[in-house]
């Protein structure tokens, strides 16, 4: 469903992503983990067709994310980092804009936007300008826009950042509900989330994949068998190796 093949991205002389490869099938929820600046967001932007790789290829449902961008993107829902949205628009208007741009109209448009706003639990806030909403509602508005067209692939960059514990739980439940039908990538700093939501985890640091496996196998790598200790062992260990190389 989604393939990253030897993705490389340089910013000037800095190599942000260095040969990231993986494939993701329908039904998988991939936790994309790594310290700040590890290359998570850059990798996700390349998969979403917003950034051109300097090497390697990415594809969604068999369509290349660069050369067949429109086909690939029409099968993708993307929540960018920081959940950007137009502050003067309401969440309903924002979701409908995305759907209209994708060719939805009439009843299908109304149905899809209503369902997305309901699933993202916007409630009465669906008709308030996004600029007046709290961080949590703003993020849910952007999430609603990402899932509204029922895409086969979802790329969510920190979907639970800035949410309160109840809202986090709601978003995790939403991801679990959608999981059987879709291939989903989420990036997160909240490591507890990984065993709770993800069927698979990838740890990257300095643009390289350090681990690719189940959350259970990842936890086994830690001193006290938690994802957190495994994450520390992998990324801090890699820092030492990187410095030596």
């Amino acid at each position: 469903m989604l393939v990253a093949d030897q993705l490389i991205k340089d910013f000037g002389s800095f190599r942000a992503v260095d040969g990231v490869s993986f494939t993701l099938e329908r039904g998988e929820v991939l936790g994309f983990l790594g310290p700040n600046g590890a290359g998570k967001t850059t990798s996700m932007r390349m998969l979403a067709g917003g950034l051109e790789p300097d090497g390697g290829t990415a594809s969604i449902a068999g369509y290349d994310c660069m050369t067949q961008r429109l086909e690939a993107q029409s099968r993708l829902g993307y929540l960018p980092e920081g959940a950007p949205a137009y502050p003067a628009m309401t969440p309903r208007g924002f979701v409908r804009f995305g759907l209209r741009a994708r060719g939805f109209s009439g009843d299908a448009l109304m149905r899809a936007s209503g369902l997305a706003l309901e699933r993202a639990a916007l409630g009465e806030m669906a008709d308030q300008p996004i600029g007046t909403l709290s961080k949590g509602y703003k993020r849910r508005a952007a999430l609603a826009a990402a899932i509204a067209h029922d895409p086969a692939v979802l790329i969510l960059d920190e979907p639970t950042d800035g949410l309160d514990p109840n809202q986090k739980d709601g978003v995790r439940q939403l991801i679990r509900d959608m999981a059987p039908e879709k291939a989903i990538i989420i990036s997160t700093h909240i490591l507890d989330e990984v065993p709770a939501v993800c069927s698979r985890a990838i740890v990257i640091d300095k643009g390289r994949v350090l681990f690719d496996g189940t959350p259970h196998d990842l936890a086994a790598k830690g001193a006290d068998a938690t994802v957190e200790s495994a994450f520390r062992a992998l990324t801090q260990g890699a820092g030492g190796v990187g410095a030596a190389a």
Partner: protein
């Protein structure tokens, strides 16, 4: 793909009216266009019932006001991070630049429509050449469109709206100034005739004047539509460049 052009157009037009921008713009325009005509253009002293005093000053109003409409086009998207959202939508770039342009051009058209009471007034006062006034309006709208398109291209170069505005005003000023006699005579003394000729043809003012005399010339139409299409293409290229991530 026309649906994505329409979606962007609709969103952009709403965005002008969801913020005070469109209302402030229209109010300032509706006040300034007649004010210039009455005071600076000596509308009554000329003792002629036509709109020449207004059409004389419209280009200078456009130099300031059109970049104010166009400056947000891409600078705001970049500043707010919404460009990331827009670039992940399956829409071709021409639909994004075209939708943004048409929305701004619509607001400019509404602004021109607000000066219609003056057209009615001159018809009440005398017998103006209404055909020439109609083509004058067409020329003014085309000129506004070309300044908006140039402004949009410059907006794509920065994430700062003020920078986009200043660049846009500068470019519109140069386009307007290029055809003025004192610029051409200064050039005429120091530059080859071919260059003076070229600069004169570059001037938006010269092409606009043809419309004011009731003439819809092919070369003037080509000039304005060409300027619009080239500027929008540049805006699209600059935004597409951003996918390269600063390579």
């Amino acid at each position: 793909m026309i649906h994505s052009l329409h979606a962007v157009y609709r969103r952009e037009l709403l965005a002008y009216f969801q913020t005070p921008l469109a209302y402030v713009f229209l109010a300032v325009f509706a006040f300034c266009a007649p004010a210039f005509a009455f005071h600076v253009g000596r509308f009554f002293d000329t003792n002629r019932a036509d709109l020449a005093p207004m059409f004389d000053y419209l280009p200078w109003l456009f130099v300031v006001l059109m970049p104010a409409l166009a400056m947000r086009a891409w600078a705001e998207e970049r500043d707010r991070g919404t460009l990331e959202f827009l670039m992940a939508l399956p829409i071709p770039l021409w639909a994004a630049t075209g939708g943004k342009f048409l929305a701004a051009w619509t607001v400019a058209g509404i602004a021109l429509a607000l000066t219609f009471p003056m057209w009615i007034a001159v018809n009440y006062l005398g017998a103006p050449d209404n055909a020439a006034i109609a083509t004058g309006y067409l020329g003014a709208w085309l000129m506004a469109g070309s300044y908006l398109a140039v402004g949009q291209a410059l907006s794509a170069t920065t994430s700062n709206q003020v920078v986009a505005f200043v660049l846009g005003t500068g470019a519109a000023f140069l386009l307007t100034m290029a055809g003025l006699p004192f610029v051409l005579s200064a050039l005429g003394e120091n530059a080859p005739a071919l260059l003076s000729e070229f600069v004169a043809r570059l001037s938006a003012l010269e092409h606009y004047d043809a419309f004011r005399y009731g003439v819809i010339g092919l070369s003037d139409l080509i000039y304005f539509t060409g300027l619009i299409l080239v500027s929008l293409t540049i805006a699209g290229v600059l935004i597409a460049e951003r996918r390269g991530g600063g390579r």
